[in-house]
Subunit: 187 residues, 2 copies
């Protein structure tokens, strides 16, 4: 129950992504929920044999470390990314240890799996985590792409990560980015 209460603090972690209605920053708890719903309804685009339950479990816990480490903007530089990785590992050590013994290891393993991105479940989960902010940016007339002057060249590696998790969603994302560039939403 200490973990359940601690997890609630993710509702206070704000992301760069802006919602249009209401116009405010998205928080990491509702972002995690949206990803889990996407996994449920887009499961047909996962590679054959994907364990959907593990995908959803990973998505539910993948951002809990942000309670301590905060959310880092997707296009932060390498030094910032390295500092963030360290902070997230320390957060994982603290937060998952609030769980009873066997369970702490099981949930931590889900977080490690998501980070390592070696299983098809983790790759599909990571693809959704990259696709959702793109959808939000398109819905918000460019959103953080416009605010931060992001270019198509910066977005394309994210598309490659989506393709790596799901060929169909990758193709869909590639089309989105091409149309966004045509519409002048990407520099």
């Amino acid at each position: 129950m200490r973990f359940v209460s601690e997890a609630g603090r993710l509702k206070a972690v704000l992301r760069q992504t802006r919602l249009t209605d209401p116009a405010r920053q998205e928080n990491s708890a509702e972002h995690s929920w949206h990803l889990a719903v996407m996994a449920l309804v887009l499961a047909g685009h996962a590679p054959p044999g994907t364990d959907l339950g593990r995908v959803i479990a990973m998505l539910l816990v993948h951002d809990l470390v942000e309670i301590d480490a905060g959310d880092l903007f997707l296009y932060a530089d390498e030094a910032q990314q390295a500092r963030q990785e360290e902070a997230e590992r320390a957060a994982a050590d603290r937060i998952f240890a609030l769980l009873p013994d066997g369970q702490a290891g099981r949930i931590r393993a889900l977080w490690d799996e998501f980070e390592e991105r070696t299983t098809k479940e983790a790759r599909f989960a990571r693809a959704l985590d990259r696709l959702q902010p793109m959808l939000a940016n398109i819905a918000a007339d460019g959103g953080t792409w416009v605010t931060h002057g992001i270019t198509a060249e910066q977005v394309l590696p994210k598309v490659a990560l989506i393709e790596d998790g799901s060929a169909a969603l990758g193709a869909y994302a590639r089309g989105l980015v091409a149309r966004a560039a045509d519409a002048g939403l990407l520099g």
Copy 2:
């Protein structure tokens, strides 16, 4: 993708439950995420043979109807509850129909199962949905119990619903309510 975008609107639906940090009303998207995380870590308190994947799927979609119907306070009167049920059914008809054919029926069936509360999966999911606001009220020094002058007699039927889904969580909730009453948080 129209459904995925529509689902995001649940982030705008505010609940009575107040968060303490930040001090604001909880929205139904982050509430749904918290319940799914609770299902993941409290699964050991579900009846033997419970299909955890279906519990989590139900929790992820159970409040989507609130995009149209809004959230009704748990202690609303019977006439309000009846109007809410009708509004939620109309919302389910509209929102789940945004999904492709076969999938619309599958996700709608999850929502129906949650509402009907006949399977052990639905009863466990409903127990978590009742327990989470209790935890929030205790964390907020009585929260909506104090604001609305709720009595222990009004809370106990909710405890019975938790017991119906999980004996262990029901016993835990009964203890919480007794201590809250002793502490003067319940009228």
